[in-house]
Every structure is written in structure tokens, then in C-alpha cells.
């Protein structure tokens, strides 16, 4: 019910923002998949980001001014996302934040480019235009990153494997996942591995057994999957039900920490760039306190990504002199270094040519049956992001 009210209040904000109220605040427009099939991935990011910025506002705002967030639900639909972006720009948003399916990117981008407003992907997959040489108006802080993730995952497999690697590959039939798994297939060969089977499952598949069966029949000793969590974990669970005993390495989405606890499988490895709550850092205590105050219903482990987005927006606006304009915000985003307080392996840095990050750090975790706990298998491993 809170979400419904929140969206309703935000909708009211849309009407009010253009009238003067906007001049007293930093206005940030958000179009996100708050409901719909992909909401589990995106809604926690935006809700956590909002909770953090509300917390900032309660402490006096940024440069003495509050941050006003206008959240519009696009349900993952491109047409709605485009309409949202147009409306938010009309309401003088200084920046558009997108947390939704990649199919929403093009219509939003068309609107932001027309208006010269920066577009910030938070929780949505980072498009290649944020990598160097970056598009002047697109920025991204989302944890996962195409090509780098496969480099990290397969590097880990090579370091771990004591026997020749027969690699199975699994992905969902969405463009970003398919191209990444194709890249991983090529990369695996250069690393001396043998890709034995690649399975692409449609989104959503009610039963992953047929795909897992084909994978199992190829007899891989490792399987790598890079997709939305539902596809990754269902393929893994189907493989286990079929009696496959190999090792599975996959991306650590928002819910990975609690999923490792649920699955309790010692050969399921998740790799990612956000620290787990088991680290119990001071920032984790802050996240707990803020989300408790905001009465968010998600498991706490879902909220790191949204907090990082909040920290990024706070840093950008701190460097945006009053009165703010989209041009000033873009300039601040082009020269940004955000201290993530341990939520990642290092600070998030954007430069004029690199709107992704200059260095990406990866960790790997798994469930340890002996300790009955999630354990870290590999500590932060940096990969430089180059052109």
C-alpha cells in the first residue's frame, strides 16, 4: 500500500513541479519498472535510492536545498518509459534516472538527447555507450557490466579448475544476455576451455528442465550463466534435480546473498561487485537504519544498489552549484569520484570519456556446508576499464 501512495504522491509532484516548487529543490526524474514482470529487479533499487535521498533531505538536503524525486512507473514498457521521460523533462528534471528493462532505453534516450538532460542508469544494465569513449549524456553505476563480468567469471573458473574445463553456457533470450554469453563462449576458448553446450531460454520459461537436460547431456564440469536471476537460478536448480553435480558460476544479483542461504549448495558460486551484508560495515548499519525508518519491506540485502545510486546522486548534486541546470549536472557527472564506503572494492569514478567506472572490482562467494554460512571464495579482484 505504501508503494501505491508513494507513486500517487509522486504523480502529484509531477503536476506541481513545473510551478515554482521545482525552483526550490533539485528535481530528479525517475522512470522505472516499479510494477510489472521485472519489478523485482528494479523496484528495490528505486525504493532504496528514495529512502537514502529522503534521509539526506531530513538532514538539511544538499547545499541547503532538498532533493525532489519524481518517480514514474513505466512497468518495463518502452512507450510508457518514453512518455515518462518527456513528462519529467517538462517538469524541469535536472537528470533522468532509469531503472528498467533495456527495451526502455531508446525512447528515453530520444527524449533526454532532445532536451540535453543527462540520463543515469541505476540498476538497469549499463549500455555500451557508457563505456569509454562514452556518450556525453549517458552514465551508469549498475553493478554488472557486459564483457568485464565474463572476464571476471571465467578468470575465476580458470583459477579454480584443476581439471580441463568443459564449459556449459546458459542465458535468457534477451539481447544483452545473449551477446554476453556469446562473448563468454569466445573468451572461454582463448582461456583454454572447451565450450560444450549453450542454452538460450525464452523469458519467462515456466520450466527449465528441457534446457537443463540439454546442458547435462553435454556433460560440462562447469556451467556459466549471465542473465536475470530467475533464468540463472532456475537453470541451476533444474540441473541439480536432473542429478548434475558440476560447479555453477553466475552473477550475484540483488538477492544473491539470501539465495545462497536458501539453496545451500556448496558448488554454486556467485560473483559480483557489491559487498554482502555479512561484511557488516558501518554503511550497512546506516542502510539498515534508513530502510527501517522508511519501512521498506525488502530483505536488506536487496538494497545496496539503490543506496549506491543515492550516494552517486548526492555527490553529483553537491558539485552542482545553485541554481542548477542540466548542463551543470552533466559537468558534475563528467568529473565524479564517489566514496562508496566499502559497498564496492573502490570508489566509483566517472570521467569525460568513461561514464561506467574506471575500475571494476569483483568478489566471489558460495555456501560452505561445513560452516553452514556464506563464505567469500575470492576477495576484490580489480579489472581496469579501458577503451
Amino acid at each position: 500500500m505504501r508503494r501505491a501512495l508513494g507513486i500517487a504522491v509522486c504523480a502529484t509532484g509531477v503536476a506541481a513541479a513545473g510551478t515554482g516548487a521545482a525552483q526550490d529543490a533539485y528535481v530528479i526524474g525517475v522512470t522505472a519498472g516499479m510494477t510489472g514482470p521485472a519489478a523485482a529487479t528494479y523496484a528495490p533499487v528505486i525504493d532504496a535510492m528514495k529512502a537514502y535521498l529522503d534521509h539526506v533531505n531530513s538532514k538539511g538536503g544538499i547545499n541547503g536545498k532538498p532533493v525532489r524525486l519524481i518517480i514514474a512507473d513505466d512497468t518495463g514498457e518502452p512507450s510508457r518509459a518514453g512518455a515518462n521521460a518527456k513528462r519529467l523533462i517538462g517538469d524541469k528534471a535536472l537528470m533522468i534516472v532509469n531503472s528498467s528493462l533495456s527495451s526502455t532505453f531508446a525512447p528515453i534516450l530520444a527524449e533526454t538527447k532532445r532536451a540535453g538532460v543527462p540520463l543515469y542508469y541505476a540498476g538497469a544494465v549499463c549500455p555500451k555507450e557508457t563505456y569509454p569513449p562514452a556518450d556525453p549524456l549517458q552514465f551508469c553505476s549498475t553493478a554488472f557490466g557486459a564483457t568485464l563480468d565474463s572476464q571476471a567469471a571465467l578468470g575465476f573458473v580458470r583459477a579454480q579448475a584443476k581439471e580441463p574445463v568443459r564449459l556449459g553456457l546458459a542465458a535468457m533470450a534477451i539481447p544483452i544476455a545473449r551477446s554476453e554469453i556469446d562473448y563468454a563462449e569466445g573468451l572461454s576458448k582463448t582461456l583454454g576451455m572447451t565450450p560444450v553446450e549453450k542454452q538460450i531460454s525464452p523469458p519467462p520459461a515456466p520450466d527449465y528442465t528441457p534446457f537443463a537436460t540439454k546442458l547435462k547431456e553435454a556433460n560440462p564440469n562447469w556451467v556459466y550463466s549471465w542473465s536475470p536471476w530467475v533464468s540463472q537460478v532456475r537453470t541451476f536448480e533444474a540441473l541439480r534435480r536432473l542429478g548434475w553435480n558440476g560447479r555453477y558460476v553466475t552473477w550475484a544479483h540483488l538477492n544473491a546473498e539470501e539465495e545462497l542461504v536458501r539453496l545451500k549448495d556448496g558448488e554454486l558460486y556467485v560473483f559480483g561487485t557489491n559487498a554482502f551484508f555479512q561484511d557488516d560495515l558501518p554503511i550497512h548499519a546506516e542502510i539498515r537504519a534508513v530502510t527501517h525508518k522508511a519501512n521498506l519491506k525488502y530483505p536488506i540485502s536487496y538494497l545496496t544498489e539503490g543506496f549506491i545510486a543515492g550516494l552517486v546522486i548526492e555527490s553529483v548534486l553537491k558539485n552542482t552549484a545553485w541554481p542548477p541546470t542540466p548542463q551543470k549536472v552533466t559537468a558534475a557527472m563528467n568529473n565524479l569520484k564517489v566514496d562508496l564506503k566499502g559497498l564496492r572494492g573502490g570508489p566509483l569514478e566517472w570521467t569525460k570519456d568513461n561514464h561506467f567506472r574506471t575500475r571494476q572490482y569483483y568478489r566471489v562467494w558460495k555456501w560452505d556446508p561445513a560452516k553452514q554460512a556464506v563464505v567469500r571464495v575470492q576477495d576484490w579482484m580489480p579489472i581496469d576499464v579501458k577503451q
Binding site: P206, P210, F211
Partner: protein, 269 residues
């Protein structure tokens, strides 16, 4: 199929009611923690009650309106339920089986073939539901009344059969069976927003079998599922989404009333 047979209304909220049944199990499993059988029984009762309530609160008011209006009402109901479920339970994935405190073991069924315990329960539950429905419709007073209402509602009403009670019961039973499917699917994998799509795949199965035939729905499901699995395995996995509808198109061209449907039931444009 049950609703169509009795009232000639196609429920397009089937997927959402299925998902609601699964959320019902998740809720009762959390409520009756440590008592899984109580939780399952409570969720089953809840599913029947929801179906009855849908009829009494919504579909009953469509009496006398065109069938198309009633079908559109079920679409609106589906949209409403989808939004309401996100509001109540949030968008994240849920695991009813874990909430029940059970594990989904893998059971060998000969050779290298294995089946999960919940999948096996799904097969057995389908058989039990069909047997139960057959016994109910053939031998019980309410079942015979339901068949009568389905054959000729006007005549049935003139003979003193309370149509609203029959329709409410049909909605209750249909929601129970759909909800049961949702519960078992959610226990086998997980409960999340895309479950509605599985409900959508039920329509090709029902139409292939014949919209007014319970036996046809069963055989239609087997035909569609077999085509899907075989094409995934031998041709291309990405065909799985389109196969049910290809089978449906082929059936509509060759035999529009389905394998076991009644030819006279077909409305022509």
C-alpha cells in the same frame, strides 16, 4: 473450461487467479508456520472462497449482459489482481515450499530420468482433480445440476435450479483447480510475477482440446506440452514460446472446435 461449460464465459483472469492461489499458499504457510498440512488446507479453502467471491461480487452483476462484456470484465479483474498482488506481497520472488518447511527432492523414475517430488505431486494432483470432478459431475446432486445448467440454463432455471449458486460453485471450483496448479508450480520453482504467462499458455491447451470438454483440456495440455518439449530438445529452445500457439493455429484451421469440443458450440463471425 469448467466456467465456460457452465456459463459460456471465458475467464481471461485465469493466470492471475492461479498466481493468487500460489500467494494464498505463501500467506497461509507463513501464518501457520510449522503446520504445512493446515496451511495447504487453508489455502485450498481460500481459493474456493475467492472464486465464489469473484462470482458474487463481479460476475453476477454481468448477468444479462453480453458474453463479450463478461469476458472483458475478467480481463479487468486480471489487471486489478496483478496490481493488487504486487502491492500486497511486493515484486520479489517468494518460495512457498521453503515457507512450508519442505524440500523438493529429486526422484528417479527409471533409467537416467528423474522427476522432482513436486512435479510428481503435480501429475498426481491432476489425476485426483480430474477423478474428483468426474465423480462430482456424474454422481452428486450439485454436479448434475451444474451439467444441467451448462446444457440449457433457461430450462434448468425453470426446473428450480438456482443458477447463481451453480455459477458461484463453478467459479469456486475453477479457481481452486487453477490455484492448486499455481501452488504446485510455485513450490516446484518459485513464485513471481511472470507466473501469469503460464496461465496464458493454458488457453491453447484448452482450445486444442475443445473449450467445452474437460477431457479435451487434459489431452490438449498433453499435446501442447509434448510439442513444446520435443521442439525444445530437437529443434530450437526458442521455439518453446511460440509452439503452443502454432499448435493452436493448426488446430483452428483443421478442426476449430478442438479435439473433443462440440461443433455446435462454435460462434462464427
Amino acid at each position: 473450461v469448467l466456467i465456460y461449460r457452465v456459463s459460456r464465459v471465458i475467464s481471461l483472469a485465469h493466470g492471475e487467479l492461479m498466481m493468487l492461489g500460489a500467494y494464498g499458499l505463501f500467506a497461509t504457510a507463513s501464518l501457520f508456520s510449522g503446520h504445512p498440512l493446515v496451511a495447504i488446507a487453508a489455502s485450498a479453502v481460500l481459493a474456493v472462497a475467492v472464486g465464489g467471491l469473484v462470482y458474487l461480487a463481479l460476475m453476477r452483476r454481468m448477468t444479462g449482459e453480453s458474453v463479450l462484456a463478461a469476458v472483458l470484465a475478467t480481463i479487468a479483474l486480471g489487471i486489478l489482481l496483478r496490481g493488487a498482488m504486487v502491492l500486497v506481497w511486493g515484486p520479489q520472488e517468494r518460495h512457498p515450499l521453503q515457507a512450508l518447511g519442505w524440500a523438493n527432492a529429486s526422484i528417479p523414475i527409471g533409467g537416467a530420468a528423474k522427476i522432482s517430488a513436486v512435479s510428481l505431486a503435480l501429475v498426481l494432483a491432476t489425476a485426483a482433480v480430474y477423478l474428483g470432478l468426474w465423480l462430482f459431475l456424474r454422481y452428486t446432486r450439485w454436479g448434475i445440476r451444474m451439467r444441467a445448467a451448462g446444457q440449457n440454463s433457461l430450462l434448468a432455471a425453470q426446473r428450480g435450479i438456482g443458477l447463481h449458486g451453480i455459477y458461484a460453485l463453478a467459479w469456486g471450483l475453477a479457481t481452486f483447480t487453477g490455484g492448486l496448479a499455481g501452488m504446485l508450480i510455485a513450490c516446484d520453482s518459485a513464485l513471481e510475477q511472470t507466473m501469469v504467462v503460464i496461465g496464458l499458455k493454458a488457453f491453447p491447451a484448452a482450445l486444442v482440446g475443445g473449450l467445452d470438454s474437460l477431457l479435451g483440456a487434459l489431452l490438449g495440455s498433453i499435446v501442447v506440452a509434448a510439442a513444446e518439449v520435443l521442439l525444445i530438445h530437437y529443434v530450437n529452445p526458442l521455439l518453446s514460446d511460440v509452439v503452443p500457439f502454432l499448435v493452436l493455429l493448426a488446430m483452428l484451421i483443421v478442426r476449430p472446435w478442438g479435439l473433443f469440443g462440440t461443433r455446435e458450440e462454435l460462434d462464427r463471425v
